[in-house]
Amino acid sequence: MNINIFLHFLILIPILGFLISLLLPPSNEKLNSRVAYYALGVQWFTLLGFILAWSLRGFQTIDIRDFVLFSTPGYEYFVDFYFDGISAVYMLVGTLLTFLITMYSRFYLHRESGYKRFFNTILFFYLGYTLVILSGNLETMFVGWEILGISSFLLIAFYRDRYLPVKNAVKVFSIYRVADVGLIVAMWMSHHLWHENTTFFKLSNYELVHHQLQEHSWIGIVVSLMILISAMAKSAQLPFSSWLPRAMEGPTPSSAIFYGSLSVHIGVFLLLRTFPFWEHQVSVRILIGLIGLFTAVATTGIARVQSSIKSQIAYSSIAQIGIIFIEVALGLKYLALLHFAGNAFLRTYQLLVSPSVVTYLIREQFYNFKLRPLTLEDSWPRRLEYSYYVLCLKEWNLDSLLYRYLWNPLKKLGNKLSFLTFTNALLILLPVLVFGLLLRTEEQWLPGSIHENLPELFSLLALIIVLKAFTERLHARLAWLLTVLNHCFLVLAISFNEHFGMEEVTLYLSGVLICGFFGWFILLRLKRLEGSINLDRFHGHSWLNPKLALGFLLCCLGVAGFPITPTFIGEDLLFSHIHEDQILLAVFTALSLIVNGLAIIRIYARVFLGPHSRSVYEMGYRSS
């Protein structure tokens, strides 16, 4: 019997579980938790059975090239699954923990508003996790990757009518977005490297990889670096570390598995999975090791000065992941896997019992009190000790560094566009778009030198547009419109590059335009109901309009190119039309996509999340 079929079950069960969970009545707690419980229970035993059968067959790596979603000459988007020792360990740890946590949360979340939402999101998260772990190529992995990002956002902002969870959810999402684009660019470049959508299976073919990389050594390096950036962002390595403690805003069990263990080890997984690719790039391995080392040392210091229990656990977990990076760089795959599993279990459990720390440590202090026990640092010169203390206290300024060097420059650029008011934007951008379309149809008249710069020009325009959307402070609808226009300009830009059929354009823009239209309509309706919806602060309209909020979230996902519309494939396809020497075009496009996602989630958060501004008496303190 071919056991490969069972691999499909491991994907289908979470999909089914998630879809069913969406349909349940929110008031019935038992039903909601039971569906999650059974979905994960069945998954767990299927997984055990599958791994048993797989081991009986001698642990052979499985690669299933599944169905093709879309193909044009020279391009194929296909779904591919892969299973080896790494997948086995990650699946076992992830499924076991999620299963236990659903059992745990069944009682823990009793009577919490959002009970259903919680289990929906957990199942959604687990689905994303499974897809990433079992994916056989970057494209399939990317689907799961995006699901992880959005479900993380929803879990962190679980208490959506408070300010801090929402603010931190947006913050984490923005870091995840960096990881997303690392992966997109890596996909684009590896496409050019292999001239097809390669699979992890092929990557493990040493000769093939070796041969390719010798011919295109710099592309190889860049692909590795992109993968590394993604891994660093997801696994909270320096300089991205500060997001992890701030993700601890949801109910404790969700923080425990996702930010204590599963989500944060995904970066390690990405490195392990792509190991054959960069195995022979010594410089990359050294870099990974150094990043791990640096992170481990720095975050250990930060962990040592934490005086809140969850941030302490978060930083010590990051330090261990730093060591895992070193282990991976050294090629110690099995040690890394062992370390991953142990660290995941340990931190999950520590977070779950973290509320008990008061009882336990106060009792211990009561019986074993010592006035300020000396620590290692006390033996240092005081100047050094105090400096290092302040450095760690301020978390190495990581949070403000990201702001200063990443987001603030983007915001400043966007602020330069403040002349673009609602009407101005339409008056300027629409004619430009129409003009661009005209140029495109009449391009035989264009001189070559102009023609070859048009893609960059229009993609730069697209980037500017979306920066404006990201920094718009007043009109939600203007920002929304700009995110949609951004996509149109991107398509236009790349259509100058390579001729492709209407079919591809439709594929790309269908999702964007339909969702864009509905999103516009929802914002309009909200404005009629609630009056002004500027983007200067959080409005919290989901408090009174939960249905509009859900509808708008779906529209956001559609416009952001989330795998619920064909736009998702279109995005990848778009990239395949960028030539390997068009670095600038690739950078503009990639940046556009980062900022687009950010702008969209910002609109959603500002309009629908946070404390409801007009219900002062119903809301908590902003600082709470």
């Binding site: 949360s105 009682f107 005086s307 019992v353 973290s354």
Partner: protein, 836 residues
């Protein structure tokens, strides 16, 4: 007025209004809005709403829903309306109450002045200042979470930061100006306020805006300033220091973001900002809400009053009692007492504050600190030490700091990590007792001995505690006799002693619960009452004490023995102490009684289980009880028990006053016999404690329920433990004082009604004896009704006097089947008369 003096006044005012919750280990219930207690109840809470945006009553639609579900009765509503509007057309007004829309609450004024920054400079100060401010505060105050403590924490707050700032190459601040200001010893708070706020007249309102942007941290700092003992590892910090540092951080952010191009708040005010402190206008909605609230209270309280006047015949067994049992006044003991009396009609139960009149500090064996075991306002002069304890602390490596080290963490995660998976698995499937559980029976080792009797030094001087020379070790015989006499007379147990008199303290058990201390005995400062029970019993059993008591008219026969015990209110287990000292006869009787206790506990567990979704009340008694035990040790159970939820009454009188009345665990019960206290001496003592303790519990539940987001701690699920003294949401949040939603969600916010059995005149003079006590009654933060003992006529205390009162409710329904009544609903059950 001189500016420095004015600032002292402002800070004193701030301290008055800020939340006053001590650290978690000392969680003691108090009136959340104590700062408004100088005003009458409704005026005080109205002002609190308008100033700070608190929701101090339920919403109109909640009241209307309560009316629909009959929790507010029509008679009560009509009666209250007619009291407020005696002239009006009642039907028309009732219609208005049920349907009209009286508009919204006006917007609160807190924060208006400080909003100038955002308005004029588009700058979000809080978002930039608070994370660092909270982090520095938490690291300074930390009691033992961080591995590497603030190196200078032994100094006071500002000096410790200055010390660091002086030497550190990395500044705490972002700009040089603030570093300079901070290190300059001549910088005073007024200087900073002049830079920030400008005109002096705005200082007060600005500081209120600033501190009420994070009332949790400010309130905690203020508490530590006044009561440093709330931290075991002492810190010296003042609210003024926090304000000083925060103002500096604000200037720092403004300087960094805006350079020179900013000026003080007062120079940027365009339109006048309404004052925070006065000039409030009446608004329509409030007059509706307050009548609804009174109707809500009356709907329940009048059922009780009607019940008391209806009960005419004493149903109790009148022969010699089989045993007597003293419990805490606590509302959770209500039902256990009912079951005991039901199972053994010859027994007698009593209620009294659970420290049983003995106030002292307790030093557990090997303990490095003292634990206060008496009500919070009392400062004892005695210490009692535990000796010969054999219990050792069990450790759990998951809480060890080495797990956060780099290399040890590496080893531990690959070894212990897998053990964590097993533990998690077991904890989900089969929860069991662990070192992480706060278990009431661990409060004191049953097998230990206590230093109860004072032994003077050879030279005859009192033997004092070595570390605290103010404290005497143990009690002298006369001091013991005073306490036993006081206890017995206050509850009216002065004759007819049974062979065994149980004195049962209480405590609670829970895991994963930072608020564990709130579940223990409030009269023992948030600890279990086991030591107190043992101590008072030892005193009452002492032959010398008994002979002193005999002189004072209390004759305890030689065959009578006092037996201490501890009731775990979460697990419904009871532990007896010093059983080995009983003689054979007593032991035999005790064994028989123990069976009754065990059975009563089973029933009690079942009665509690009706509120727990995880337990099927139709299961067998033993099955239900075993599940109750599992709940108390389950990591995933945020409601190990419901604590004081639903409390609404306090009955001060003989058992016969309410015997046969089903009060559904909603009543504090203090035994009291007016006949042996004609001039109200003991009554004064009882009310002096009951008003702040029971009233404090009641009002903390009240306001945590009406506004769980601002006055309560919100849901406990995302809570993060800060420095072992508080909880916050996430890592950058404000501290959350008050009760988490899981504790109050089934609570109906009713003010406490104290019902006293005595002559109105005696009660009046008793409550007026102490101004602080009288304030509670005069301003109606607790309600008071007197039952005249012989006629059973009711007198309601209102506007400073007792007036005859007739309840609006009729006689309560009768039932002879409590069981089916209990399990018909998981909601509150109306008052019933139990037919025997």
């Amino acid at each position: 007025m001189n500016a420095a003096f004015a600032l002292d006044h402002v800070i004193a005012e701030l301290k008055h209004y800020l939340p006053a919750q001590a650290s978690l280990k000392d969680f003691i219930h108090h009136n959340t809005l104590h700062s408004f207690q100088k005003d009458r109840f409704f005026e005080g809470i109205e002002k609190a709403s308008l100033m700070f945006g608190y929701r101090t009553l339920l919403t109109l639609s909640e009241y209307r829903d309560l009316f629909q579900s009959n929790k507010i009765s029509r008679q009560a509503l009509r009666q209250v309306i007619s009291e407020y509007h005696p002239e009006a057309n009642l039907d028309a007004l009732e219609e208005k109450f049920l349907r009209s829309d009286p508009g919204q609450m006006p917007l609160p004024r807190i924060g208006l002045l400080r909003a100038t920054w955002k308005k004029c400079y588009r700058i979000d100060l809080d978002a930039q200042v608070q994370p660092l401010l909270f982090r520095v505060l938490c690291n300074y105050l930390d009691q033992g979470i961080s591995v590497w403590n603030l190196p200078t924490a032994s100094l006071d707050f500002l000096s410790s930061l200055r010390e660091i700032e002086k030497l550190s190459r990395i500044s705490i601040f972002r700009t040089a100006r603030c570093k300079g200001l901070f290190l300059d010893p001549e910088t005073h708070l007024e200087d900073l306020l002049k830079i920030l706020v400008g005109k002096e007249e705005y200082f007060e309102q600005y500081l209120f805006d600033q501190q009420f942007a994070h009332p949790g941290w400010s309130g905690f700092v203020s508490v530590v300033e006044d009561n440093p003992a709330t931290l075991l590892d002492k810190r010296s910090i003042r609210l003024a220091d926090l304000i000083f540092f925060e103002c500096l951080l604000e200037i720092d952010v403004l300087d960094q973001q805006l350079g020179d191009s900013w000026s003080s708040v007062s120079s940027n005010i365009q339109s006048p900002v309404p004052s925070l402190f006065d000039g409030y206008e009446k608004f329509d909605l409030w007059s509706y809400l307050k009548i609804w609230q009174e109707a809500f209270e009356r709907s329940y309280h009048d059922q009780v009053l009607a019940g008391i006047t209806t009960l005419r015949t004493a149903k109790r067994y009148s022969g010699h009692p089989s045993f007597q049992a003293l419990f805490c006044i606590d509302d959770r003991e209500c039902s256990l007492r009912r079951y005991l009396e039901d199972l053994d009609p010859a027994c007698q139960t009593y209620g009294t504050p659970g420290f049983f009149g003995v106030e002292f500090f307790f030093r557990p064996e090997n303990g490095k600190f003292l634990t206060k075991l008496c009500p919070a306002p009392v400062t004892p002069g005695y210490v009692i030490a535990e000796e010969h304890s054999t219990v050792r602390q069990i450790s759990d490596p998951h809480f060890r700091k080495s797990t956060h080290g780099l290399f040890r963490g590496w080893l531990i995660s690959q070894t212990l990590g897998f053990w964590s998976a097993v533990k998690l698995f077991l904890n989900v499937l089969r929860p069991s007792m662990s070192p992480a559980v706060s278990y009431s029976f661990r409060h004191m080792d049953k097998a230990s001995t206590l230093t109860i009797n004072h032994r003077p030094r050879p030279d005859g001087t009192p033997n004092k505690d070595r570390e605290n020379p103010a404290l005497q070790i143990g009690f002298q015989q006369k001091e013991q006799a005073d306490r036993v006499e006081n206890l017995l007379k206050s509850i009216g147990l002065v004759s007819d002693f049974a062979p065994l008199v149980y004195v049962v303290g209480h405590g609670a058990s829970s895991v994963n619960n930072p608020h564990y201390a709130a579940y223990d005995c409030g009269a023992c400062s948030g600890r279990a009452g086991s030591v107190n029970a043992r101590v008072i019993c030892a005193m009452a059993n002492d032959a010398g004490v008994r002979s002193l008591l005999r002189e004072r008219g209390i004759d305890i026969p030689g065959t009578t023995r006092f037996v201490g015990g501890l009731h775990d209110t979460t697990r419904d287990e009871l532990l007896f102490f010093d059983e080995s000292e009983m003689d054979e006869v007593q032991l035999r009787v005790h064994k028989k009684n123990e069976l009754i206790f065990t059975r009563a506990l089973d029933f009690n567990a079942r009665e509690r289980s009706r509120r727990f979704a995880s337990i099927d009340t139709s299961d067998s008694l033993t099955e239900i009880h075993s599940q109750i035990l599992v709940r108390s040790v389950s990591l995933f159970e945020p409601r190990p028990e419901l604590n004081h939820a639903t409390n609404a009454l306090c009955i001060v009188g003989r058992r016969s006053l309410t015997d046969g009345l089903f009060l559904d665990r909603r009543s504090f019960m203090n035994s009291y016999d007016y006949q042996i206290d004609p001039d109200g001496k003991y009554l004064f003592g009882i009310l002096k404690a009951a008003a702040p303790v029971c009233g404090g519990i009641n009002l903390e539940y009240f306001f945590s329920r009406t506004d769980n987001r601002k006055l309560g701690a919100g849901t406990k699920l995302p809570h993060n433990v800060m420095g072992l003294f508080g909880v916050a949401n996430g890592i950058d949040g404000d501290l959350r004082p008050g009760l988490p939603s899981q504790m109050i969600e089934v609570h109906d916010p009713l003010r406490l009604m104290i019902i006293v059995e005595h002559e109105p005149g005696v009660v009046l003079s008793a409550i007026q004896r102490n101004e602080e006590t009288y304030e509670w009654f005069k301003n109606e933060w607790v309600l008071l009704t007197v039952v005249q003992p012989t006629t059973k006529n009711l007198f309601r205390f209102r506007d400073g006097q007792f007036m005859p009162y007739t309840p609006c409710a009729g006689a309560p329904p009768e039932t002879n089947d409590i069981g089916s009544l209990l399990f018909s609903t998981d909601d509150n059950i109306p008052v019933h008369i139990i037919k025997s």
